[in-house]
């Protein structure tokens, strides 16, 4: 699936606004630094973290290299256990399948477990247009849904909101879709959680359809694994009669044993906990327990294409822990919305262009939304070399994009490349620059016109030296004395 225009502003434009939002920067700075420190502390506890990380990377890489085999194995295991597997090539197909499945139950409501895959395909919106209400039950996801906002973080979709903003959203919006918030609600976290519990309970008791994703799908046994902190996911997975899970094809692991590695890597990387409070495993249907009607929709949506790219395929190892977001200095300033995608931060900057192509301005701007500082790679529990991937995708971008600005940059880069190909050309360029340097003296250069204003609006620029090192060396060390 390529060439989809997400209709978003480019990253620099969106970030331009976000950086000026002092409240947002404050909320984000606080939240990410807290979770960053928690993660660092629990990771430091494990002597074998690097081995675990290497195992995680190896298991995923292996699975991806034989994905067709494992997918088939998964399908037969699910079928044998009384479930049904559906294959969806893209978002439209997945949405159609899920809508149809809900319709078959005769229900017009569903409760949802927090899921990136369903966000990726815009499932809630698709269901809404078919007259089906899908209620998010994850606390942060609920906040975002009530506010008709967009998630800005993989793990904490409402990370851009603080407590008092959440209280306002609850007071304003809860009554529109069920149990209202108490009139005297304060911004005390316990009270906020209690209000959410009340609001959600009503929905759990009523619901007969649940929609989920999965953190892992075990090929050997056809099991889905859902990892969460609040227990609301477990309510959805066990109470309603009908369960529909939308699962990206890269979520597979070969065997039950492999979970051991990931159940250590994931909670430590994502919430900074040694173990997450709830891990639910669902293997087909069992009489008198859990859903009696169970469907898995296996979602491709650009993944096969990403898999075919030798360098790019490693992005599919991602277990969506969000550690890379929390350490990313760019994410911390720009916020998740600036990425214009459900996958923000460093992983979004590599995954989104791979899933949707680089034809549109907004996805093409994402590989450049990084300083290549490498902090993301250092924390990634499956050792995805995000900086290398970013550079790889930038290369793809320069080849595929043909707009006037891209051509202008290409010409400039070719020119500079030509200069750097020969020291005599570089020497001549330096002599011209040093003329400018003499003009400015040794002071820094103040404001310059576009495009250099992008530098000098906030920073002085250094004046070129009146004598390059090369000239100095020739004058002092070679005796040949180039005095021009």
């Amino acid at each position: 699936m390529s060439g989809v225009d997400l209709g978003m502003p480019t990253f620099p434009d969106a970030a331009h606004r976000a950086v000026r939002d002092a409240q947002l920067r404050h909320n984000l700075g606080r939240a990410t630094s807290t979770i960053r420190n928690k993660r660092a502390a629990v990771v430091d506890e494990l002597d074998d973290w690097e081995q675990l990380r290497a195992s995680g990377a190896a298991i995923k890489a292996h699975t991806l290299s034989r994905l067709d085999t494992y997918l088939e194995r998964f399908e037969s295991a699910v079928t044998a256990a009384g479930g049904t597997v559906h294959w969806a090539r893209d978002a439209a197909e997945a949405n159609r399948i899920v809508t149809e499945l809900v319709r078959e139950t005769g229900e017009t409501e569903a409760v949802k477990v927090k899921s990136m895959a369903t966000q990726e395909i815009g499932l809630n919106e698709a269901l809404a247009s078919a007259g089906i209400s899908a209620w998010e039950t994850d606390l942060a996801e609920l906040i975002v849904q009530l506010d008709e906002d967009r998630p800005s973080h993989i793990l904490v979709p409402a990370i851009h909101r603080n407590r008092s903003e959440i209280r306002e959203i609850f007071r304003r919006e809860m009554s529109g879709s069920g149990a209202p918030a108490p009139a005297d609600l304060t911004d005390d976290p316990v009270q906020l959680a209690e209000a959410a519990r009340h609001h959600l309970r009503e929905k759990f008791l009523r619901a007969n359809v649940a929609i989920s994703g999965a953190n892992f799908a075990v090929a050997e046994t056809g099991s889905l694994v859902v990892v969460e902190s609040e227990g609301n996911g477990r309510m959805c997975l066990t109470m309603p009669d009908n369960l529909i899970s939308v699962v990206g094809i890269e979520k597979l692991v070969p065997s039950w044993r492999d979970l051991e590695v990931f159940l250590q890597l994931l909670p430590r990387s994502s919430t900074g906990e040694r173990m997450n409070p709830y891990t639910s495993v669902l293997s087909g249907v069992t009489e008198e327990d859990g859903p009696s009607n169970f469907h898995v929709v296996l979602l491709d949506n650009g993944r096969s294409e990403a898999l075919a790219d030798e360098v790019g395929s490693q992005a599919l190892r991602c277990i969506r822990c969000s550690a890379c977001l929390n350490v990313c200095p760019v994410y911390e300033r720009a916020g998740g919305h600036a990425y214009g995608s459900v996958y923000p931060g460093p992983i979004g900057a590599v995954l989104t262009p791979q899933l949707y192509g680089v034809e549109s301005e907004d996805t093409a701007s994402l590989p450049y939304a990084s300083t290549l500082c490498g902090a993301c790679y250092d924390v990634c529990p499956v050792a995805i070399e995000i900086p290398e991937l970013l550079v790889h995708l930038r290369h793809r971008t320069t080849r595929e994009r043909k707009g006037w600005f891209d051509r202008l940059t290409g010409t400039a880069m070719r020119g500079l490349g030509w200069v750097f190909g020969d020291s005599k050309r570089l020497g001549r360029a330096q002599r011209i620059a040093s003329l400018g340097g003499r003009l400015f003296g040794r002071r820094g250069i103040g404001r310059l016109p576009w495009p250099m204003s992008r530098w000098t609006d906030a920073r002085d620029a250094p004046a070129p030296a009146s004598e390059s090192f090369r000239q100095w060396w020739e004058r002092n060390r070679t005796g040949s004395g180039d005095e021009r």
Partner: protein
């Protein structure tokens, strides 16, 4: 010991003082220093911006200039990182087998200054004197591409007269990021502003780093803020001796 000096395009053109300082330190420690005149640039700006084909001439000129040297030293963690981790990618993409082989021969001999001093020459006290309050920013590529660890700080802590001040959140990126500073100026400046705020909090007179590029960005911000905090390359601090006073 015979050493080839790689000035880097930025050092050569904009910050020759840092290159001369590198030369001084190396010669003071008894090295015989060559400046291969055919050198130009490591090609990092092209590579990182995605122009891999256009980086080929720079990579070619680099290996041609430095082939045969046992030790190549550059005052830039970033450029050395690019040489070590990207030259092979650029060469391989170009399809030129000879270039790939030359890259494989040359890259292992290239060192960032602090690596060369500590790992190869085995010194941390290089006889320097610098009686000022200094804080050190460990730039991302030195830290995460080269893993230089605390080598620059060990060198600095041996400098006589220096007062080394701890930089809060030192390991966070300064926001330069090559063309990132132009493509995403708002985020770049926001990151740099946080970094310079931390620098001010230390009470340092001098901000030191081993990368002229990051110093150019932070120095540009500090100059605009008119706080009187200077930026200096690690080599420039190490170059000073008591006799210079």
């Amino acid at each position: 010991m015979r050493v080839a000096l790689f000035a880097t395009c930025l050092g050569d053109t904009l910050f020759p003082g840092a290159v001369r300082a590198t030369l001084r330190v190396l010669e003071r420690l008894g090295c015989t220093v060559d400046f291969p005149p055919g050198q130009t640039c490591c090609g990092q700006m092209h590579t990182n911006t995605g122009y891999h084909e256009q980086a080929v001439p720079a990579v070619r000129s680099f290996v041609t200039a430095f082939e045969g040297y046992d030790h190549v030293v550059a005052p830039s963690g970033s450029c050395v990182g690019s040489i070590r981790h990207q030259h092979d990618i650029v060469a391989e993409r170009s399809g030129d087998r000879k270039l790939s082989e030359a890259v494989d021969r040359v890259s292992p001999h290239v060192y960032e200054l602090s690596e060369f001093l500590v790992d190869v020459l085995g010194v941390t006290d290089v006889g320097s004197y610098f009686p000022h309050r200094v804080t050190y920013h460990p730039t991302c590529h030195s830290l995460r591409m080269l893993r230089v660890g605390d080598k620059p700080r060990r060198l600095l802590s041996e400098v006589r007269g220096i007062r080394l001040l701890e930089l809060p959140e030192a390991e966070q990126c300064c926001g330069f990021g090559g063309t990132f500073a132009l493509k995403n100026p708002d985020v770049s400046v926001a990151m740099g502003a946080d970094k310079t705020r931390h620098v001010r909090e230390t009470g340092a007179e001098v901000l030191c780093a081993s990368d002229s590029s990051c110093l150019m960005h932070l120095g540009g911000l500090l100059d605009r803020q008119r706080e009187g905090i200077r930026t200096m390359h690690l080599a420039e601090i190490l170059a000073g001796t008591e006799e210079d006073r």
